[in-house]
């Protein structure tokens, strides 16, 4: 082993208890960060996955510009056929959807609501709404004239399963779109916005009422791993007919609010983490200042022997790196172990399952294992540790050999 390394390592153990205490502080903060960050990223994935699963889906094929300006005439031509092609290409969950707007009435009450035409056979693959029926059943036949509506809307319209719902809107060609359909189911999706407004009809019935022909407004894709989505989007783009101005949108474009919420949460959490790291950094700074002060005489001798202040400062820096690596090594083992355990078993606490079930969320958060999730926290601690050691290392530059050798 290099003499400097050996020298630095042995210097650490001059005060074994102090070294262990400092290493423990580094280890504790590293373990905590690894555990918290992997759990936090796991929670984000769960949040994204759950949000997308309710209704939006992971990817959507739309006519270019429809997302910003959702007009009836911006359609995906031959949507059901294109959805079938995507299914045949190996995408696990694909369903076509059409969107319109209508005045929904029942008795004396009316509300303006978005109306969605869905493929009853495939919609359960891309949305959790079909599974979250509070009353009645979901849509069955593609061309049946029937509807399911959100629980809040049903309450507002004072409508129940079996009652008739009148829809009055305008079709793609500007004609009047009007129909009366029986309500066969009332869903409680956990998403207040959907429960307050949404009406779903079978796609064929929607196309008929709204003069859509065989067009729809979106093909929703889902059922993939989040990390595979960019590749899946590229693959889907390659399958689209070039002449129809179609685009594949990823979830970040479809639901930008989720990403913004995650970023805001991440900033808030990192604020807490940085405070923790700063506290640990001061403990390290204290250790190194003590270590340098009590060795002033020895540094004076080294200067007399011909060592430069830079060389001695480097020795102190090597000591800080070794101490940081020792603490981080222990922290990574403990934190990584916890992360692996909670990745496999999931993290929960009493009552969490019941609480999360109200929002359609799973009752356990699975820690996310990735290089970044595990390495970022310890890397920041390492950086702070090295910066903390810079101050005592730079103080050595001011030492004069004669004064230093007379230090007590």
């Amino acid at each position: 082993m290099n003499v400097t390394l050996r020298f630095a390592w042995r210097n650490l153990w001059r005060h074994a208890r102090r070294t262990w205490l400092t290493a423990s502080a580094i280890a504790f903060s590293a373990a905590l960060l690894v555990f918290m960050i992997t759990l936090q990223l796991g929670a984000y994935d769960m949040m994204i996955d759950t949000s997308l699963r309710v209704y939006t889906g992971q990817l959507q094929v739309q006519r270019s510009g429809y997302l910003d300006k959702p007009q009836m005439r911006s359609t995906v031509p031959e949507a059901a056929a294109l959805a079938a092609e995507l299914r045949a290409a190996g995408f696990p969950a694909v369903a076509a959807r059409a969107q319109g707007f209508a005045l929904a009435s029942s008795g004396s009450r009316s509300y303006g609501v978005p109306v969605s035409g869905v493929e009853p056979k495939y919609e359960p693959l891309v949305s959790t709404i079909p599974k979250r029926l509070a009353q009645g059943r979901y849509l069955r036949e593609a061309d049946a004239y029937e509807a399911v509506i959100g629980a809040t809307l049903a309450r507002n319209l004072k409508i129940k399963v079996g009652d008739e719902l009148t829809l009055l809107g305008s079709g793609r060609d500007g004609s009047v779109a009007a129909t009366i359909v029986p309500v066969v189911g009332i869903f409680d999706s956990g998403n207040p916005e959907l429960d307050r407004h949404l009406v779903q009809l079978p796609l064929a019935a929607f196309q008929e009422v709204f003069s859509m022909g065989s067009d729809a407004h979106a093909i929703v894709l889902s059922g993939m791993e989040l990390r595979e989505l960019p590749k899946a989007a590229t693959r889907a783009r390659a399958l689209l007919p070039a002449d129809r101005e179609l685009v594949v949108l990823e979830w970040q474009e479809l639901l930008p609010g989720i990403e913004q919420a995650i970023e805001a949460d991440m900033v808030q959490n990192w604020f807490t983490y940085i405070i923790l790291i700063i506290v640990v950094t001061f403990s390290i700074l204290n250790t190194f200042l003590m270590s340098v002060l009590e060795r002033t005489r020895e540094f004076g001798v080294m200067l007399a022997l011909g060592a430069t202040p830079y060389r001695i400062g480097s020795l102190v820096m090597v000591e800080s790196v070794l101490l940081a690596l020792l603490g981080l090594g222990i922290g990574l083992v403990v934190g990584g172990g916890l992360a692996v355990y909670f990745h496999l078993e999931g993290f929960t606490f009493p009552g969490m399952a019941e609480l999360y079930a109200q929002f359609g969320l799973p009752g356990r958060i699975h820690a996310k294992l990735s290089f970044n999730a595990i390495a970022v926290g310890p890397a920041v601690i390492f950086l702070f540790t090295v910066v903390a050691a810079l101050y005592p290392a730079l103080r050595i530059r001011r030492l004069a050999p004669v004064e230093a050798m007379h230090a007590v």
Binding site: V3, T4, R6, F7, R10, N11, W13, R14, R297, E298, V301, M302, L303, A304, L305, G306, A307, T308, P309, R311, A400, P401, V402, M405
Partner: protein, 235 residues
């Protein structure tokens, strides 16, 4: 013409302590030839250690010129002084001042590492010099596991191993019993002869003075006597 390791011309040193000037050395003129074995003596506060520090490049004179191994010490910057100390000057201290976490061999190797020598050369040279100072078999011991005399031998080995022109020894026998001190002085005489190194001691110890070939007495920062003693009273 005599080759001189150290030349001092009109050297003075004034310390400032709380705005009070303390004249530590006044107008010192001195020429120390190569291979000399010289002792600086005098009462406490006479300026022995200050003179040793100035010659060793650990401090700078207020006025005057100091030349060591051909280099003007008073004109060198911090880096130049460090280089001079590393390559031209060895130090032996009263309290040994070995690095406690390094073994005897590593303490000796440390200076060679600073000089940038290869690990193989360092290892061979350290073994050789430790054998020469009589510490064969003790190379792996740390300072805390060695007696005072053994530690001072390690310090001598460390001072010599860099192949300096000059070794400065500040009260090298002060912490040793008389027998150990005599053995150490015999070792230093041997080093002086074998390695052709100039030795300058600062001491109160009669034994060290007896071994010296030249005895310079200082008083109140001035040289009051410069006695040349041939081959040294004992050595």
């Amino acid at each position: 013409m005599t080759e001189h390791t150290v030349i001092l011309r009109n050297v003075s040193k004034v310390y400032r302590q709380n705005a009070v000037a303390v004249q530590a050395l006044t107008d010192i003129n001195l020429e120390i030839p190569r291979k000399d074995f010289l002792c600086l003596s005098g009462p406490s506060g006479s300026g022995k250690s200050t003179l040793l520090n100035l010659i060793g490049g650990l401090d700078k004179p207020t006025t005057g010129e100091i030349t060591v191994a051909g280099e003007r010490v008073d004109q060198l910057g911090k880096g130049g002084l460090a280089r001079l100390r590393l390559h031209k000057i060895g130090f032996v201290f009263q309290a040994y001042n070995l690095i406690p976490v390094l073994t005897a061999r590593e303490n000796v190797e440390f200076v060679m590492q600073l000089q940038g020598r290869s690990p193989a050369e360092r290892g061979a040279k350290a073994r050789e010099i430790l054998q020469e100072v009589g510490l064969e078999g003790l190379e792996g011991r740390r300072p805390g596991e060695l007696s005072g005399g053994q530690q001072q031998r390690v310090a001598v080995a460390r001072a010599i191993v860099s192949e300096p022109s000059l070794v400065l020894a500040d009260e090298p026998t002060a912490n040793l019993d008389s027998k150990t001190a005599e053995n150490l002085m015999q070792l230093l005489v041997h080093m002086n002869k074998e390695h052709h190194v100039t030795f300058i001691f600062s001491t109160h110890d009669r034994l060290v003075m007896d071994f010296s070939r030249r005895l310079i007495k200082l008083h109140d920062g001035r040289i009051v006597d410069d006695e040349k003693r041939g081959a040294g009273a004992v050595g």
